[in-house]
Symmetry: C2
Subunit: 342 residues, 2 copies
């Protein structure tokens, strides 16, 4: 449709399946079968076709499938900042799982704080079979665009009102309550909370449940300080909290990166002992949380379960677009390590 004019370049013309068939001395249908997954073809015919295809530099055009109404096997993956341990971990596992079912992830970057409308529409331009949104919220209008095109949309870490879109999200409130209950049963008396990015859906759920449970348990949270899911934000929050006269003796953090920052502030900047002087607890259980350098007590946000659920939702939706929409909450667990005596 579009001609990009001055942007156009000379490209070697691609060989066609007719030319491959001619060189191989086989039928065009044999060439087609040779490049179709699951199609039957005699080994010596396949050998002839592959030799001719190699000689001509021929590759079947997968994208052409998208133009005739079938699958491209592309899946749009909308991501924010892969420079944070949890997103990199989740993205790594998700792309592995997609590759295992023959899907190719088309990466579209989003502003984690913004709506994903633009990145999502960019993915839809490429005739993707579906879109998985790992970061960013969506509006009703954006969901409607995807639905109009019949493209399955799966949201991670964000839950919309029912029957609009498939959602996978950790049961954040349950995770925060696990931490509150562990602290209420411990010797720690003065708990503080370092938030994640305030616009994040998960952040609201984690904070509300933690503050509520601690208050009901008779040890209301003594201070809430703003973080931004980064190590640097955790350092700043940790310094603010732990250099105050009446410092907290336990700090629950919006994610693991924040908790690593609080631990570094406590140990390396203020000379405090973790967990003797202050307990630090994270959320996510990224691989680094198990490294002895941090040995972080944290809530496990189960990446394998998230990825398996996304994969299955996508497969189900591709098989039957009319199924009811699902909101799946994964179950968190508390992983007790050395950063908190709980």
């Amino acid at each position: 449709m579009t001609d990009i004019g001055s942007d156009r370049v000379e490209r070697r013309r691609r060989a066609t399946s007719v030319e491959v068939a001619r060189l191989a001395g086989v039928s065009q249908s044999a060439v087609s079968r040779c490049f179709t997954v699951g199609a039957s073809i005699a080994p010596d015919t396949r050998e002839k076709v592959m030799t001719a295809a190699r000689a001509l530099g021929y590759r079947p055009n997968v994208l052409a499938r998208g133009l005739v109404g079938s699958r491209t096997d592309l899946v749009g993956v909308v991501v924010g900042n892969l420079d944070t341990p949890f997103e990199a971990f989740l993205f790594d596992r998700l792309t592995d799982a997609l590759a295992a079912i023959g899907k190719k992830p088309l990466v579209v970057r989003s502003d984690p704080a913004g709506d994903v409308a633009r990145p999502l529409l960019a993915a839809l331009d490429y005739q993707v079979d579906g879109v998985v949104v790992l970061a960013g919220g969506v509006t009703r209008a954006t969901v409607d665009s995807a639905k109009l095109l019949g493209v399955p949309l799966i949201l991670y870490g964000f839950v919309t009102t029912a029957d609009l879109v498939d959602c996978v999200c950790c049961d954040n409130a349950a995770g925060a309550r696990l931490v509150a209950d562990a602290l209420l049963a411990s010797r720690y008396r003065r708990a503080a909370y370092v938030t994640g990015r305030s616009s994040a859906f998960s952040e609201g759920e984690r904070r509300a449940a933690f503050l509520d449970r601690m208050a009901r348990g008779g040890r209301p949270v003594v201070r809430v300080v703003e973080g931004d899911y980064s190590h640097a934000g955790g350092m700043r929050a940790g310094l603010a909290l732990l250099s105050a006269a009446a410092r907290p003796d336990a700090v629950f953090c919006g994610n693991d990166a924040t908790a690593f920052g609080v631990i570094d502030a406590a140990r390396r900047r203020l000379g405090l002992r973790v967990p003797e002087d202050v307990a630090v607890i994270g959320f996510d259980d990224v691989p680094m949380a198990a490294w002895p350098g941090y040995d972080l007590t944290t809530v496990r946000n189960p990446v394998d379960a998230i990825v398996a659920t996304v994969r299955d939702m996508l497969a189900r939706r591709l098989a039957d677009a009319g199924e009811p929409y699902v909101v799946h909450r994964t179950t968190p667990t508390l992983v007790r390590r050395g950063s908190a005596a709980v």
Copy 2:
């Protein structure tokens, strides 16, 4: 070409530009201009077209461009394990830089130890404008396949003999010599080396240059232990080296993740002080190296320079496929922090 039979699903038929033009009451050419970057169109015409396009769920088909010989704006990015800090960091910055020039990264996973022929051919199936290989070596046959199709191929961290393909690679030998020179000028007398994955191109260069320079400086390396670029591998190597009777007083590691493992083994498992009892030095300078918890002295493998070079190589190659191939070596620097008194 291929019909995937039982795999086929019902998908809502896409609206055409003709239908959008009719609903908007404008010409088809106006619809086309509205979706062409840089084309001129009156604001009220654009408004009519966008309203009609939204109502019909119309999106221009970017992939169709690929079928008529022009650009798709897809760039294949072949990656290994994004669960390692350096690869995640590099991938994050590269996808940002590609997005800034309007390219969409199509992610193809590779076995870091294997040839990238299969993942590369998978990317070529999607009519990508180019392929950037971040992990894995390539054979001559693989390079030839890409050249036959006229698709630019850019390799990171791997250098082939000249005039075959564009390559970007850290000057690994220079980086290793910076470490050797710093150690030779220091009070440390017994240096050890923990390798990266032995099959990696960079590993061979780093090891050879470090061993050579230390030997020439009169303090030959006392022991070489195998690592695998992972924190766990670094822990194992660190325990093996530092629990020996005649332990080294300095350990240079194939990458930062390995160095974090050696530091954790020294401090948390063996009760040694870093840098007083043992110096630990890494390679890459991932963001985490600056965290006070590790405060790692390391060789900076300049990600911003790598990414800018890849972006410029791709643009140059797309503008003129006939340019001579380039091997670009980025210049490393030594970043002195607290893990080594050098």
